[in-house]
């Protein structure tokens, strides 16, 4: 009985989330709508951003090369030329909004609204501009091969943990240039300090760890940011992201892991957050207070980084390729061969 009740409660939550998404869609103003060019079977990429001009060229190139067919992007009041740049791209549809990021549930409502309208029946990739998807065989097989295989395996979602990347030395020692591969600078990561816990209601795994937990949240690790992500989903108009891309409803979509001892397929989202751009960003976000839990995360960063901004240590691992992440056990091929 209580199980039924729980299922019903989640259903109500999902419906409410969808209603919110529809309502919040009014906050978006179209800048360049090229969605008519979307063909059946296209892989779509959804992104919200604010003042990320310097990152955009590499971001678009990376995902175009992987095989994303169309980008649907939301600009949250950028004033650094991001909007103008994106509006010119032939495979980008762009919306803009001056409204509060926080009050749209950190962008989730906006994204859900666009997903519902444009992604039904498509594979949708939802990433930030500093997140770069790595999946098994990504150096030889395009994203299309992955989603075809997921389709054939009757899998509707694909998990990819956030892997925080950082440079060796102070994070602002080497400036990032527009168009550059950020992992030429931030090429290091923590290979084995991740804590996992199952969320009994949503059934997703809650993952914490990496350099952020180690360096910023050593005293209260439960506040460390969540690293579990489900960025690639075969979209149905009834789906909804709940907290960023950490979890979804219906909750069956969150079961991207095996519970019987085996391994399912998974990838990683390489996170190019810790570059020289970060300190500026952290200060800005601290002032805007538009982030989760009163931006306590950014406060922690600010505090630590003003003392010492080196995240590197002798156990840091230097990134080579997806096979390395697979061997280290950060992601898995599952039964894809």
């Amino acid at each position: 009985m209580s199980k039924l009740l729980e299922a019903y409660r989640l259903r109500v939550r999902r419906k409410r989330k969808l209603l919110r998404a529809i309502r919040k869609r009014r906050e978006l103003r179209s800048v360049a709508d090229r969605t008519r060019e979307i063909r059946p079977g296209d892989i779509l990429c959804f992104t919200t951003l604010r003042n990320e001009r310097i990152r955009l060229s590499y971001f678009l190139r990376y995902y175009r090369d992987l095989g994303v067919d169309h980008f649907l992007m939301i600009d949250n009041a950028s004033d650094d030329g991001s909007r103008e740049f994106l509006a010119e791209q032939p495979d980008v549809s762009l919306w803009t909004t001056p409204h509060s990021y926080k009050r749209s549930d950190f962008g989730t409502d906006w994204i859900n609204g666009l997903l519902r309208r444009h992604a039904h029946g498509h594979w949708a990739l939802v990433v930030d501009v500093d997140e770069f998807l790595v999946y098994p065989f990504c150096d030889t097989r395009p994203l299309g091969a992955l989603v075809d295989w997921l389709d054939a395996s009757s899998m509707r979602s694909f998990g990819a943990m956030l892997l925080d990347m950082y440079p060796k030395g102070p994070i602002d020692a080497v400036p990032y240039r527009a168009g550059q591969d950020p992992f030429e600078i931030a090429s290091w990561f923590d290979s084995g300090n991740y804590m996992l816990e199952k969320n009994p209601v949503y059934r997703n795994l809650w993952i914490q760890g990496g350099p952020r937990m180690r360096a910023f949240f050593g005293d209260n690790p439960e506040r460390a940011p969540a690293l579990n992500k489900i960025p690639l989903v075969k979209w149905h108009r009834g789906n909804a992201f709940v907290e960023s891309t950490h979890m979804l409803l219906p909750r069956g979509l969150n079961l991207v892991y095996d519970q019987w001892g085996g391994e399912r397929i998974s990838g990683c989202l390489l996170h190019a957050k810790f570059l020289d751009t970060f300190r500026e960003k952290a200060r800005e976000e601290l002032n805007r207070r538009q982030h989760y839990a009163n931006s306590h995360e950014y406060r922690a960063y600010h505090e630590r980084l003003s003392k010492d901004s080196n995240l590197w240590n002798q156990w840091s691992e230097k990134y080579i390729n997806w096979r390395q992440l697979e061997v280290l056990g950060l992601m898995s091929k599952g039964n894809w061969a």
Partner: protein, 576 residues
């Protein structure tokens, strides 16, 4: 550029092509078969749109010896696919009298070797039928649990689209004890759907006087395309080789594996004639294998072993996973881990109290990574007092205690290949004590009562010492009870302090041997023993104050040290 016709026409091999998706690729492959001189009969699924079908026909226009079978709507696991094959086979046999072998292929099959090779191969075996055909009662490969029952139950619901009804209906029939009669004279066999039969066998199957009866029966069997020809061939074949000439591999769910561009070398080396399924956008594979290669005929046998191995390891990864790894897509429920950690490790209790340099001595003698108290309340004491250890593990107590189980599993995983050892004692987190007791990989060596030695040396107020001693004794007693209980899966060795000291060198030898069993060297150096002069008296003092220490065994109050131990500060004594 390919010149047409590329190969001399030799119509001894006919190909039936079943096509239902990726028609552009199917047309390419059909063209390849045809240009190599094979007569073709193509069945295009009725679900394919008229426009796509027309395009497909146009792409093949002008090629000789291509016929089209009447189109049926083929549903997975249903009879229609066999029906379509039968019709195509009839057309083939009737229209191409020179055909001696008929090869069944699909639009997503790709020939890997020049067809001349295949023809030569078949020419050398003119009477042989190549069809994988195994007695259903004797093979374990069936996915989904339906073996014999495929032949004795009824399946009105589609497995892919009406799964619930399908399963419920199967359960219902089982409960009712329903059982279809298998026609007399046939023994159900199953095997790969892709075969290559001789004209003689195929004709005999199609012209069998009881064919109507068999067809009626098989039309209600589940997945008849894997059993109809496989069973019938057993009735009519003269020389049956139970293997398929088509390389097709299935995963643990019965779904065919795909081949991609990065499999190119593997496919070339496999020397198989035909492979499926090929990902339709694998341009490199299609471009490579569809070139007509005017090479010398190569008589080598197909050898799919490396490919089998690749897919077997993928299956292993999916079904068993990597033991001791907890990650985003492997998070086993309790009891389903296939092992809590990935490698053996050692836990020492009391040793670093009894020996002042135990940790450095152990790492020197065995080469193991020796940590301090990993589960100390103030934080993890990693080797050499590092703040961060392998994989980025933090020494912070808060971070570690967020999930001690994963902390330990991660440590062992991160250092796989190197033996890990750490200290544990009654002051450490009791939860960790439970963890190690449950783990068959833990080798736990305990000297009970050794915790009293640091107290003996401490300059604390005696009342405080007394209290600490009581707490430690209680904690250790509980822990030792746990280690001795039947629930403990770790390998455990327990000595009392007195027992251990009676024969300390031999006991140390045992420990060293378990860590590096192959070395089996005699210990040449002992760790430095703590000063125990007056220890017996200290214990007696505790007793006199009402706190009875018993975990260390019997120490006479008159301060007699076990004779075989060297006194503190002396040169290490070399045992015989």
């Amino acid at each position: 550029m390919k010149l047409f016709p590329a190969a001399p026409s030799d119509p001894s091999l006919g190909v039936i092509l079943l096509v239902h998706s990726s028609l552009a690729r199917a047309a390419q492959v059909a063209r390849h078969w045809a240009e190599s001189g094979c007569p073709l009969v193509i069945h295009v699924d009725k679900a394919v749109s008229a426009q796509e079908h027309a395009e497909f026909r146009r792409a093949l226009a002008g090629l000789p010896d291509i016929l089209f079978a009447p189109r049926l709507r083929c549903e997975w696991g249903k009879w229609s696919i066999v029906r379509a094959t039968q019709a195509a086979a009839e057309i083939m046999l009737e229209s191409f009298p020179e055909v001696r072998h008929v090869f069944l292929a699909s639009g997503s099959c790709l020939p890997l070797r020049p067809l001349a090779d295949l023809r030569a191969y078949l020419e050398r075996r003119p009477q042989t039928d190549f069809i994988e055909s195994a007695n259903v009662e004797e093979v374990p490969w069936i996915v989904g649990g339906l073996g014999q029952e495929r032949f004795t139950l009824r399946f009105p619901f589609a497995w892919k689209k009406q799964r619930r009804f399908f399963d419920a209906h199967v359960r219902l029939q089982r409960r009712l004890g329903y059982c279809r009669r298998i026609p007399e004279g046939i023994v159900p066999h199953i095997g790969s759907q892709w075969w290559c039969l001789t004209r003689r066998t195929l004709t005999a199957i199609l012209e069998d006087p009881r064919r109507r009866e068999y067809d009626r029966y098989f039309s209600r069997v589940w997945i008849p395309d894997e059993s109809y020809f496989q069973t019938m061939a057993r009735l009519h074949a003269r020389r049956l080789e139970s293997r398929s000439l088509t390389l097709a591999k299935f995963d643990h769910q019965g779904k065919p594996h795909m081949f991609y561009d990065d499999h190119l070398q593997l496919l070339i080396r496999s020397k198989c004639f035909v492979a499926r399924k090929i990902w339709p956008k694998a341009d490199l594979l299609y471009n490579t294998f569809l070139q007509t290669r005017e090479s010398q005929p190569c008589p080598s046998e197909p050898n799919p072993n490396p490919i089998d191995k690749l897919f077997a390891s993928a299956r292993e990864r999916r079904v068993r996973g990597r033991t001791g790894l907890y990650m985003q897509s492997r998070f086993p429920a309790p009891g389903r881990e296939n092992g809590l950690t990935c490698a053996p490790y050692s836990v020492f209790e009391g040793f670093s109290d009894l020996f002042t340099d135990f940790e450095t001595w152990l790492s020197r003698t065995t080469g193991a990574r020796v940590h301090g108290h990993l589960f100390a309340r103030h934080g993890a004491e990693f080797e050499g007092g590092q703040d961060v250890f392998a994989g980025g593990l933090s020494s912070s107590a808060a971070v570690r205690d967020r999930n001690p189980r994963l902390f330990l599993a991660s440590l062992i995983w991160n250092m796989r290949g190197e033996h890990q050892a750490f200290q544990y004692g009654p002051d450490d987190s009791p939860e960790a004590g439970h963890l190690i007791a449950q783990d068959p990989n833990a080798r736990i060596s305990v000297i009970t009562g050794a915790w009293a030695i640091p107290l003996f040396h401490s300059s604390l107020n005696f009342n405080v010492i007394r209290k600490i001693a009581a707490l430690r004794q209680r904690a250790e007693a509980a822990h030792v009870d746990l280690l001795r209980s039947h629930a403990t899966r770790a390998r455990v060795r327990i000595w009392s302090l007195a027992e251990f000291m009676e024969n300390s060198m031999e006991n140390l030898q045992i420990i060293a041997d378990t860590i590096s069993p192959r070395a089996m060297r005699k210990l040449t150096e002992a760790p430095r023993l703590a000063n125990l002069a007056g220890f017996g008296k200290f214990l007696q003092d505790l007793k006199n104050h009402g706190m009875h220490p018993y975990m260390m065994g019997n120490f006479p109050p008159d301060n007699i040290q076990p004779i075989r131990l060297r006194p503190s500060g002396a040169r290490p004594r070399i045992m015989k």
